[in-house]
């Protein structure tokens, strides 16, 4: 058993809290309305140039307009200038999921603004004013939908009141469209009304009627990202792009095995190197999510820091460091997998052992998937500067709001002495839910006079991740004489750092499909000790277990000689909402749609196959059909992937499609050739030559279809990914009769081509 001071335990505690906060709401159930009282809307006056500005505060906040300090001005969603420009602040981190376009669209819809009048800026980090300012769990849209709609609707109501007063007509005779209030054929633009509207009382948000879907003018259409012009012209946007007068550049080297401490380092030698300003040891607090022990080097340029790092010699104390070995863990798991059940029983429904004995046909299978890394293309970095009694950071983080408390705890500073600026993020995928790079930059800035940009190398990024945990499932299933699924047994072998709980992303909840869809279901678990930090990776847990579950389901339908579409629909059963959020009616609808669009059942050339898979996660119902071909040399080509999803109404159609297209590529790339292995606690892959992310030549045609049901809108950054791997593996089976039970595919001799 690991000692309590084990670094992995410290990491896991904070990650478990993170996962809980990301997953806390039951997503597919009707959303709890955000409670907002009248005073929650701050009317901010006295702004330069005049105009209407609305701040927005979540319930419980008692600040009122009269006492609001003048510097409250930036803490608002919306500012309409008397010249007619509409500035909307985007509160959430833009990590590539398109939220900087989607959030302002929601506000603009209720405001009845013309989209071309809207300018978007990133909001300051202030959770007291903005509420949730994190991007995780595909929760951005569902958690902010009502808040943003009300922010737009309240502003619209005030503009209508201003126009009605000017015309001396009842508000009921006024309508709004295209950034103007209309009364018959006469109109007053929002710009012309801004100064007057700013003098009006803020109405109670509860009295404001929000639009019906049929009244939407903006939502559901396609919009190009608001920052796209800046992206394609190379304007500074990302964390790595931060520039400040006198900026210096830092690297921070940690022990390659998690938990190693610095015994000694050649600091004096480093300090004499060209361009090096300082070199020092940071002891850290032993938490991988915050600051681990290491050596900081500060230099005049990134390259000088990187060159100095090559001269760094550290003697590490590895007495409490990770000794994890993937080869030993897989061997141990293979032995354990021979046992039908594990150490603990997680869930027992019916009489699974008896049902398996009585089944007309049974199938057994042992499934293995590897650890994987997030590998966002922008390596971890953060700029930090201790000045004027505060620590200011420019951080490419997915959790801008939560980073304040993390930094405060790690650096021993009160929250009000920390200012975090949100930058655009060059890829999240869950990696930047953690703020270790920000804590490190802060720790360096506390020791160095002047602004410092901490830059990780690609090799450090790959060596110090919070990996998607690998896992093993020893499965048995049975079908009756009619080919109906009657029994499902899973001995799940995962990892633990504290000897009790599975690692982050390495759990299998009671409600996971098909636990509630089969009369006899047994889930047992064995946990292997681990030190390597694990964390949420795009669609945590779902990104790995969906492959196992949906592949094995296909093994069973194949054994029963059933059409897999019919079998899957039969397993879904009667239309109902199951605890955990799976709605079997919505599931059946996307399964039917995707098979129709993909031409399910059509005749294919030899060596070609169609594969179908479904998964529910992050409140999204997704079914996908892969069309693959496999040649005699096991070269696989994914020709086409058809995606059908139900996430309720779509905010930005282009953005939603883009997330699904990317999810398919990410899922394909990962299942095809990506794995992280570790020996003696050290990750063996160092850069993209050993971690071959998919390139353009292997891009399949991806088609996305949405069912825009009347359910509340939910997020789309994650749920399109989990069905990808099982759809492809089921298609490989259909094509050549080979059942893939180990990922990545390269492990079973397949290659792209």
């Amino acid at each position: 058993m690991n000692a309590p001071s084990n670094p992995a335990i410290a990491a896991d505690e904070s990650l478990r809290a993170l996962m809980q906060s990301v997953e806390q709401a039951t997503p597919a159930l009707p959303m709890r309305a955000v409670k907002v009282d009248r005073r929650a809307f701050l009317k901010l006056t006295g702004l330069a140039g005049g105009g209407l500005t609305l701040g927005f505060v979540l319930g419980g906040q008692t600040t009122d307009a009269a006492t609001a300090p003048a510097d409250f001005a930036p803490n608002a969603f919306l500012r309409i200038s008397s010249k007619g420009s509409i500035l909307i602040y985007n509160k959430g981190p833009e990590i590539g999921q398109g939220i900087k376009t989607a959030f302002p669209l929601i506000i603009a819809e209720e405001l009845d603004a013309l989209w071309t009048d809207v300018v978007v800026e990133q909001a300051p980090v202030n959770p007291t004013v903005y509420g949730n300012q994190s991007a995780g769990g595909s929760r951005s849209i569902p958690s902010s939908w009502d808040q943003l709609r009300k922010a737009g609707a309240v502003a619209r109501a005030m503009l209508v009141s201003a126009a009605a007063a000017a015309w001396k007509v009842p508000v009921e005779e006024c309508t709004t469209r295209d950034s103007a209030v209309w009364n018959g054929k006469r109109k007053l633009t929002y710009g012309a009304l801004a100064t007057r509207a700013a003098t009006l009382p803020v109405p109670d948000a509860a009295t404001i009627k929000l639009k019906e879907r049929s009244e939407y003018r903006l939502l559901g259409k396609s919009y190009t990202g608001v920052d796209n012009r800046k992206v394609v012209t190379g304007a500074p946007l990302f964390g790595i792009d931060q520039q400040l007068p006198g900026l210096k550049f830092a690297v921070f080297e940690k022990c390659p095995a998690t938990g190693g401490k610095v015994r000694s380092a050649n600091l004096d030698e480093l300090k004499r190197l060209p361009g090096v300003r300082d070199a020092f040891v940071i002891e850290g607090n032993g938490k991988p999510t915050e600051v681990m022990a290491g050596v900081a080097i500060v230099a005049d340029s990134t390259w000088a820091a990187f060159e100095a790092r090559k001269q760094l010699r550290v003697e590490w104390d590895e007495s409490s460091a990770s000794k994890d070995s993937w080869s030993a863990l897989t061997k141990r798991a293979a032995d354990l997998g021979r046992l039908p059940t594990g150490e603990t029983t997680t869930l027992n429904v019916g009489a699974t052992a008896d049902a398996l004995k009585a089944a007309a046909k049974t199938v057994e299978g042992f499934y293995t998937y590897p650890f994987v890394s997030h590998a966002p293309l922008e390596p971890q970095n953060c700029t930090a500067w201790s000045h004027d009694g505060i620590l200011e950071l420019w951080s490419p983080t997915q959790t801008a709001d939560r980073s304040l408390a993390t930094l405060s705890g790690a650096l021993g500073l009160p929250v009000d002495k920390i200012k975090v600026n949100q930058t655009r993020v060059g890829g999240g995928f869950g990696r930047r839910l953690m703020n270790d790079y920000a804590c490190e930059a802060g720790a360096i800035a506390q020791r160095f006079a002047g602004p410092v940009k901490l830059m990780w190398t690609r090799e450090q990024d790959m060596a110090h991740d919070f990996y998607r945990p690998g896992g093993f499932h020893s499965l048995a299933g049975g079908v009756d004489a009619e080919g109906k699924l009657v029994a499902w047994r899973n001995h799940f072998i995962s990892f633990t750092t504290d000897g009790k709980n599975p690692v982050s992303g390495g759990n299998l909840p009671d409600q996971e499909f098909p636990a509630q869809n089969v009369p006899n279901y047994q889930l047992t678990q064995t946990l292997l000790p681990l030190v390597t930090p694990c964390g949420p990776w795009r669609a945590p847990r779902s990104c790995s277990v969906a492959w196992v579950i949906q592949s094995f389901l296909h093994e069973l339908s194949a054994a029963a000689n059933r059409d897999h579409r019919d079998f899957l629909l039969e397993v879904m059963g009667e239309p109902r909402l199951l605890p955990g959020g799976l709605n079997t009616a919505r599931a059946a609808d996307v399964i039917k749609l995707v098979t129709e669009k993909a031409g399910w059942g059509r005749k294919l050339p030899a060596g070609h196959g169609l594969g179908l898979a479904f998964h529910f996660s992050h409140a999204g119902h997704f079914a996908e059909v892969a069309e693959v071909s496999v040649d005699a040399d096991k070269r696989i080509r994914l020709h086409r992937m058809v995606v059908a999803g139900d996430i309720g109404p779509i905010v930005n159609m282009s953005g939603a499609n883009n997330q699904c297209e990317g999810g398919v590529i990410d899922g394909f790339s990962t299942m095809l050739g990506l794995e992280i292995t570790m020996e003696n606690g050290r990750v063996e892959q160092s850069n993209f030559h050993q971690y071959p992310i998919l390139r353009i030549a292997d891009q399949p045609r991806v088609e996305v279809h949405f069912i825009q049901s009347d359910n509340p809108p939910t997020g789309v950054g994650e749920p399109a990914l989990p069905p990808v791997a099982p759809a492809i593996c089921n298609a490989i089976y259909a094509a050549v009769g080979h059942r893939v039970r180990t990922l990545p595919l390269t492990k079973e001799g397949f290659s792209a081509g």
Partner: protein, 159 residues
């Protein structure tokens, strides 16, 4: 240290750096041109792609001294003017290509070199020319479509 002279986006620039410094860091840290991105440091991902006399190179692995005297074009110099974007940039916006956007400067520079020598590329020619550029978000389908759109714009403007 002698000053290193570079011609970047049509302008002569001096940097007080060792000529062995990779071009990437001279652009980013010395000249403040941060549009060119660091991704891997080993010429594996293409995020740092710039043009040297029109040829795509990986700035992270090119010593700055080795391109002294050549015309360097970075993403900041791709647009035809302050107001007129390159047809590729226009097509990228029309197709809403970017997700996180981090790789797109490198993608655009590789694509611009492709269109300069192959004005009407096939999918296979696109795949070959763009093979060195990773997109972690998976926007390849839109990249292909946007290159075809830009090729069409270029043909139209020449007709």
């Amino acid at each position: 240290m002698p000053m290193l002279s570079l011609r970047v986006n049509g302008k002569d620039q001096n940097a007080d750096v060792d000529p062995n410094t990779p071009l990437l860091w001279v652009l980013r840290d010395s000249l403040g041109l941060v549009g060119t991105k660091f991704g891997c440091g080993m010429a594996l991902c293409g995020a740092c792609t710039v043009l040297a006399d029109g040829e795509p190179i990986r700035a992270c692995s090119t010593p700055a001294g080795s391109v002294a005297g050549k015309n360097i074009t970075t993403i900041e110099g791709l647009a035809r003017s302050q107001t007129q974007l390159h047809p590729l940039q226009e097509a990228w916006i029309e197709h809403d290509v970017p997700q996180c956007g981090y790789c797109q400067a490198g993608q655009l520079m590789s694509a611009s070199a492709l269109l300069a020598r192959t004005p009407q590329p096939t999918d296979a020619q696109i795949d070959s020319a763009m093979a060195g550029n990773l997109c972690r978000c998976g926007t390849y389908q839109r990249i292909r479509a946007a290159i075809h759109t830009a090729a069409g714009k270029l043909a139209k403007s020449k007709a």
